[in-house]
Symmetry: C2
Subunit: 164 residues, 2 copies
Amino acid sequence: MEDGANRRMSGKLQSELKKRMPFETPEQEALLNLVRTSDRIQFRFARLFREYGLTPSQYNVLRILRGEGSPLPCLEIADRMIAAVPGITGLIDRLEAMELVTRDRSTEDRRVVNVAITAKALELLGKLDGPVGDLHATLVGHLTHAELRELSRLLEKARKSLPE
Amino acid sequence: MEDGANRRMSGKLQSELKKRMPFETPEQEALLNLVRTSDRIQFRFARLFREYGLTPSQYNVLRILRGEGSPLPCLEIADRMIAAVPGITGLIDRLEAMELVTRDRSTEDRRVVNVAITAKALELLGKLDGPVGDLHATLVGHLTHAELRELSRLLEKARKSLPE
DNA sequence: TCGATTTGGTTGACGTGTAAACTATATTCG
DNA sequence: CGAATATAGTTTACACGTCAACCAAATCGA
């Protein structure tokens, strides 16, 4: 608690300094930069997907299914997304209603529900591949490959502090 | 469209390569790294805030109000968060119900609603300052200051491609 | 001055993320 | 075998975030 108290400034001093000292530490600045940049990027992708009637989560599910090439159980999908389990149910519900996936209860283990991608969804993803690649290029195409590698290295190093 | 078509691989080839080629391009790898790292970090902060009964958005609103030092109109708060306008109403509603902010309609312009932080909220933020600083250190403390500066530089350069 | 436009804010509908509790099927072990 | 436990998935409740539509106060302009 000593530690925490020392890091605090008095309210008055703090508000005086707020304008001329936007970041207290390089750690804070880097974290804020990271989160803000990620949010902006995700917003751009969300906008693109929406033009095709998809949300980012829905697109992710379809990408996972296409990448796998065969049906997957719900929990396997949940694992590959970072998302928590319960959200998957509704997500699959809506994809099923749009006829982009089908649900089939496994015969060998009647607890598992296998989710398969439909031809309609594959066609939709096909239409998205070009624009998605273009957006990648737009967003970070102005960084050199060396910079991109360095960025990935730093991000991976940052993630080292996170369990799992 | 030529461009997009060329970037696409046949389904068969693609599924064969999927396992041994997790990223098609350095651009994709960097973007995925960025989003994943940000998500993990935000999850950690969310967990911390939850221990104190706050969501990340609620904490952000309170931080903005404390930083400003005086009441702010709703739209000003919405501006400083990246969030869209309509979500602010409910956010303020809940903070008001928790007695962490007060709402007052301005007398000079009767359209604007000024939101003020309460003493109770200032006390709560005070208790969070230490742990929040500690978490910053935990998450990126193992990067050198040079690395943090380089990370911030690359992220800012990446954001250059984003309008605004 | 009065009608049109702008601006601050709210409401409603929908999709998502999270935690907690619950159902149903499998599995394990005494 | 049969009870305890684990696993796959769903439901419920709540907090967002987004869009579209809306209301009311303020401002602009002929």
